[in-house]
């Protein structure tokens, strides 16, 4: 399966985007997000960007006030996931231009569309920014 979830959470622990690739109930999500954020916030920047939590391995990266957290299975290449996060941020940046937390909040669905292009069934399927953004931009145009 690879990627189990993608989360964007700010420093205050408020969720800005959540995409799960396996079904969890609301309560489970809430608990999981709380625990993970607490864990990651407690770490300083000298520690590695990977945390084990229950059966997940979480790869996280911080951009300004926003944490990007990706939960993966055991067999996943953590460094690659770290770069996947960066690719996602770069892609958003290309679309929004100097993307900030507020862009994600105002365009939640678009960020989801981008993720939908990049990750399917928990696998990274598309990494070309042009390919990721084409459908999103076409949607913009048609509406």
């Amino acid at each position: 399966m690879g990627i189990r979830f993608v989360l964007m959470v700010n420093k205050q622990g408020q969720t800005r985007l959540a995409q799960y690739y396996e079904y969890l109930t609301l309560e489970e999500r809430r608990a999981l997000e709380g625990e993970i954020v607490r864990k990651c916030l407690a770490r300083n920047e000298h520690k590695c960007s990977f945390v084990e939590h229950r059966n997940y391995k979480i790869v996280y990266r911080r951009y300004a006030s926003l944490f990007f957290l990706v939960g993966v299975d055991d067999g996943e290449n953590e460094l690659a996931i770290l770069e996947f996060i960066h690719l996602l941020v770069e892609t958003m940046d290309r679309h929004f231009g100097n993307v900030c937390e507020l862009d994600i909040m105002f365009h939640l669905e678009k960020v989801h569309f981008m993720l939908e292009e990049m990750v399917v069934n928990g696998c990274i399927v598309e990494t070309s920014k042009a390919n990721i953004l084409t459908p999103v931009q076409l949607l913009d145009k048609t509406s």
Binding site: L17, V99, F106, V120, S143
Partner: protein
């Protein structure tokens, strides 16, 4: 250029503004963004739910408005509240002709619903229709939904369309169709088993995106059954070669690296295909070697690929050259300052040592550093590595470390995990019985309630069975030391229940075995336990069984039983217990005490917990009795299966079945309960006797079962406990297990023990060697503790011949090794230390902490505008520098901010990027200023702008907030900071 950018933004804005996000939505986002606490956020969401519940049912809601409502529902669920009242509206929205509405509808459903939700059936029809649409974006939207919402039942409804779409002219559709099939395969592999050949075909798709996506299902399929895909090895190798040679379109590049994610996936596939297959592996050697050779160890993504190469190399059939190259790469990881790379390095080392165990020794210090690092993640990874390296020579150090760590953490999940690891290692490699018992005691004491019950049973059985080899004496020693340690531990407060069970059982069984302790002493202790943990019925059950045994042994030995008053009261308490199990045990004890020595000895033989009990299933010993009865005219027994047609009401079993089948009310009267049989006591001692007791099985089966699990002497060894034991005896005790390294072990253990003979040659060599070491030692100071740890972990044990051939500095390593250890410990450790450190002292590899470097370096390569901005920076930089970043800056900012704001004021629309533009320029500006003054602060991953209120922030806030038409009192400036700043 700046103007150009602004124009571009505004063009983009045109469409964004076109959504017409309402003021309400902006307000919602703003208030959520500014919420200070989870509680405040919850209040906002609860209010929002109320609003939405009212609004969403209003008639004739415009499409645009409806889409916004759905997105607001997304917010509700994302923030942890139930939005199920709106699901149906998302379903409706998927019917919409408007593409954006449709896709948003699908998106919402994929986020809301699990694939077993009742509403799914309502959208299957829509999905079917959309899959046939002429607009490929509609098809893609439907395929997205297929990948998330179609379950096993509904697969057949969409399968034909999905298969057709594999040949769709648009690559985006083909790609998603492949992934839809992948999903079907994951959900129900039988439903698409006839279609897997499609994945092979799609591997040759001329669009690299489709090919890349196809690797995902293929990886899964290959992992399940590698042998069926060996023919693809050549194809994968050639694809990998082409990718690595930069033959894919530039758009797949990531930081100048050709399609790294595809490379990694391919390497993963090759690792599986080449595992244990020499022929397949040979195809791969060249391309992997090439990738490693060209590898870029200065970027994260480069290292990600290199790491994957190491994984692949250590998985496929070993190739000496590649392994060496991999070890070199790994050395760089381990020596890096980046924790991320160290982590990867430790992981990779764990893979490499499986094939070349000697690679670990040059990294001893790096490993120990990681072990002692405050970072838990790194520490755990290192434990993982140590676990793989454990052998009988270093098990004590490793397990001790693990236990120390286990005690220090509070995370139950990991505690459980590491406790089981400790137990496993202790069982496999324990150097002595005493150590084993001590180790198990610690594990039980600190993680007792977390370890699997099997572990406790294992321990009891190990103590009970002994180890076979040295027979009686060793076993008795083990038992004595166990008893001794338990009597010591009992005093500690709050021991875990499971540990107490073990203690009770062992005390009951062997407490008086060596004659050191009197029965009254042990029984007193047992009563203490029962009293201290009076809430724990299981412990009490173990305690009373132990008492029973204690007294039985006493009676059997012909001594007079003098029950302590506290024992008496304990038994009395249990006689009246609510638990029938405890009651029964108490009655058994009472009955047993009244019997004579011979009877007691047969019922409770000493140290017989592991004796085999022959169960006479035919009840042959009753033949005489049966015969007698028959002669006296009793009816012969008719087997159950021959009793057809007979309704036997008194037969409990048939009645039971009857009952469960009907599940209705019973109208006939209940059976008169049978009085408890006095012969019940017999159930305790002989398991076969349970069959004898003419009491309906249903009544007592549960109890007898409990007795057996509670460790009654005759039954502890029975099937229930056999779970993990089979291998234990073999593993335990002797180091026969330590597999490939055992040969090097035996030669190397000598130096550790200090039993060595020195030859003249060796000393000569050694003195020279030591000179070298001494000079080096002066340069690098390493704490003696670490050196000691290194020595005990890696010991002499890893000084193999292999090593001597690789390290040219020690001419006769094997000869010098024993000698060195004869010198003081300090001499041993530094020498090994020096080995590791000399390499470290070479110029440090230029691996910056990649986190930061990529953040700051990467964007310019992507965004040409930024480069230009970068050019602009220095000039502004100097001004801000002088004016301490405040006085001049506001002027510039207000200037920029004023124009777009006034321009927008007429339309009143939302145009954050316009101002965000200036903001960005300024944020870079302020960054640059900081950079200029403090020099090295560039490594801080956060833009400094986040900290403290400065002019830039206030301006940013002001501008954006004004765009939103809200008062500029934003409480959360972070909302506006550039992520890639």
């Amino acid at each position: 250029m700046e103007q150009l950018k602004t124009i571009g933004r505004e063009l983009a804005m045109g469409s964004q503004g076109g959504f017409g996000q309402s003021k309400e939505f902006l307000e919602l986002v703003k208030s959520i963004g500014e919420a200070r606490s989870k509680a405040e956020e919850d209040r906002i969401v609860v209010r929002e739910i109320e609003t939405l519940k009212r609004r969403i049912v209003e008639p004739d809601i415009p499409k645009r408005k409806m889409k916004e409502y759905i997105i607001r529902l997304l917010y509700v669920e994302m923030l942890g509240h139930d939005a199920s009242f709106g699901y149906i509206h998302a379903v409706k929205m998927t019917h919409d002709d408007n593409l954006l509405s449709k896709r948003t509808g699908y998106l919402a459903l994929t986020l809301f619903l699990n694939d077993d939700h009742d509403l799914i059936i309502l959208i299957v029809n829509t999905i079917q229709k959309d899959l046939k649409s002429d607009n490929y974006l509609v098809v893609c939207a439907a395929l997205n939904a297929v990948c998330r919402l179609i379950n096993e039942e509904t697969i057949p409804a969409v399968l034909p369309s999905v298969v057709d779409l594999l040949a769709h002219p648009k690559d985006a559709v083909r790609k998603k169709a492949v992934m839809a099939l992948h999903r079907f395969h994951l959900k129900s592999s039988s439903s698409v088993s006839h279609l897997v050949s499609n994945f092979r075909k799609k591997l040759c798709d001329n669009d690299p995106g489709v090919m890349g996506a196809t690797l995902c299902p293929l990886f899964d399929l290959i992992a399940l059954d590698p042998s069926s895909y060996k023919d693809l090895v050549v194809s994968f190798v050639s694809i990998l070669k082409q990718v690595a040679e930069h033959r894919l379109p530039k758009s797949y590049d990531y930081h100048q690296m050709p399609a790294p994610f595809i490379q990694i996936k391919l390497l993963k596939i090759l690792a599986v295909l080449g595992s244990g297959d020499k022929q397949a592996s040979e195809h791969m050697y060249t391309v992997i070697g090439e990738i490693i050779r060209k590898g870029d160890s200065s970027s994260n993504i480069g290292n990600a690929i290199l790491y994957e190469c190491i994984c692949c190399v250590s998985s496929i059939y070993p190739n000496h050259k590649l392994l060496e190259a991999a070890a070199d790469v790994n050395a760089k990881f381990l020596k890096s300052d980046s924790h991320n790379l160290k982590y990867m390095g430790i992981d990779a080392l764990g893979r490499l040592i499986k094939i070349t165990p000697h690679v670990a020794e040059q990294h001893q210090l790096a490993v120990i550093d990681c072990l002692e690092d405050p970072d838990d993640t790194l520490k755990r990874k290192t434990f993982e590595l140590l676990y793989k390296m454990t052998k009988s020579s270093n098990v004590e150090v490793i397990v001790d470390r693990m236990i120390d760590y286990m005690i220090s953490i509070s995370d139950d999940h990991y505690k459980t995990y590491i406790a089981s690891r400790c137990v496993e290692l202790a069982e496999q490699f324990a150097p002595s019985n005493h150590w084993f018992i001590q180790t198990m005691n610690k594990v039980f004491e600190h993680a007792g309630d977390l370890v699997n019950i099997k572990v406790a049973h294992n321990l009891m059985r190990l103590i009970g069975e002994g180890f076979g080899e040295d027979a009686a004496t060793a076993d008795n020693q083990l038992r004595s030391s166990a008893v001794e340690s338990y009597l010591r531990i009992i005093g500690e407060p709050k021991l875990p229940s499971m540990f107490l069970q073990v203690i009770c059982w062992v005390l009951g069984e062997y407490g008086t075995a060596d004659g050191k302790y009197s029965a009254s002493y042990i029984t007193g202790k047992l009563c203490d336990i029962a009293e201290a943990y009076s809430n724990d019925e299981t412990v009490k059950a173990y305690a009373i069984s132990a008492l029973t045994k204690m007294y039985a042994f006493e009676i059997a030995a012909g001594r007079k039983v003098d029950m302590l008053p506290e024992c008496q009261s304990f038994v009395e308490e249990l006689l009246a217990s609510h638990s029938t199990d405890l009651q029964q045990r108490a009655y058994e004890l009472q009955a047993l005490i009244g019997l004579d020595a011979r009877a007691v000895e047969t019922i409770m033989p000493q140290d017989a917990s592991c004796e085999d009990i022959e169960v006479d299933t035919d009840l042959a010993f009753l033949n005489g009795y049966v015969q007698q009865s028959l002669e006296r005219g009793a009816l012969p027994y008719i087997p159950e299966d021959e009793r057809t047609g007979m309704v036997n009401v008194s037969n409990f079993r048939s009645q039971d079945q009857h009952e469960s089948a009907q599940h209705g009310l019973r109208f006939e009267a209940y059976e008169v309960p049978k009085p408890p049989m006095p012969s019940k006591v017999a159930t305790v001692s002989l398991s076969s006797s349970t069959d004898l007791v003419p009491v309906p099985e249903t009544l007592y089966s549960r109890e007898t079962h409990q007795i057996s699990s509670a460790g009654l002497s005759s039954e502890t060894g029975s099937s229930e406990l056999k779970l993990k034991l089979d291998g234990v005896q073999k593993k335990w005790g002797r180091p026969t297990y330590s597999s490939p390294t055992s040969s090097s072990n035996s030669t190397s253990q000598n130096p550790v023990n200090g039993a060595t003979q020195t030859t003249d040659v060796a000393t000569a060599v050694n003195s020279k060697v030591r000179d070298n070491y001494d000079t080096r030692k002066q340069r690098i100071e390493i704490s003696p503790e670490k050196q000691k740890l290194a020595a005990s972990l890696f010991g002499g044990s890893t000084k193999t011949e292999k090593r001597s051939s690789t390290s040219s500095k020690v001419p006769k390593a094997s000869a010098s090794v024993p000698d060195r250890s004869q010198e003081s410990k300090a001499a041993v450790a530094p020498s090994e230390v020096a080995q590791g450190k000399t390499i470290q002292s070479s110029p440090p590899p230029d691996l910056l902490d990649l986190d930061e470097s990529t953040i700051t370096v990467a964007p310019p390569s992507v965004d040409p505008f930024k480069q230009l901005e970068g050019l602009l920076d220095p000039s502004i930089n100097s001004t801000t520098n002088h004016s301490s970043g405040v006085t001049n800056a506001p002027d510039i900012m207000t200037h920029y901010a004023a124009t777009p704001a006034s321009r927008e004021s007429g339309s009143g629309g939302y145009s954050i990027p316009v101002t965000g533009d200036n903001v960005n320029l300024l944020s870079e500006l302020s960054n640059a200023a900081v950079r200029g003054t403090t020099g090295e602060t560039t490594t801080t991953p956060l833009p400094q702008s986040v900290k403290g209120p400065n002019a830039k922030d206030s301006l940013q806030r002001d501008a954006k907030v004004r765009q939103m038409g809200v008062t500029p009192t934003s409480q959360n400036p972070n909302l506006f900071s550039d992520l890639l700043g």
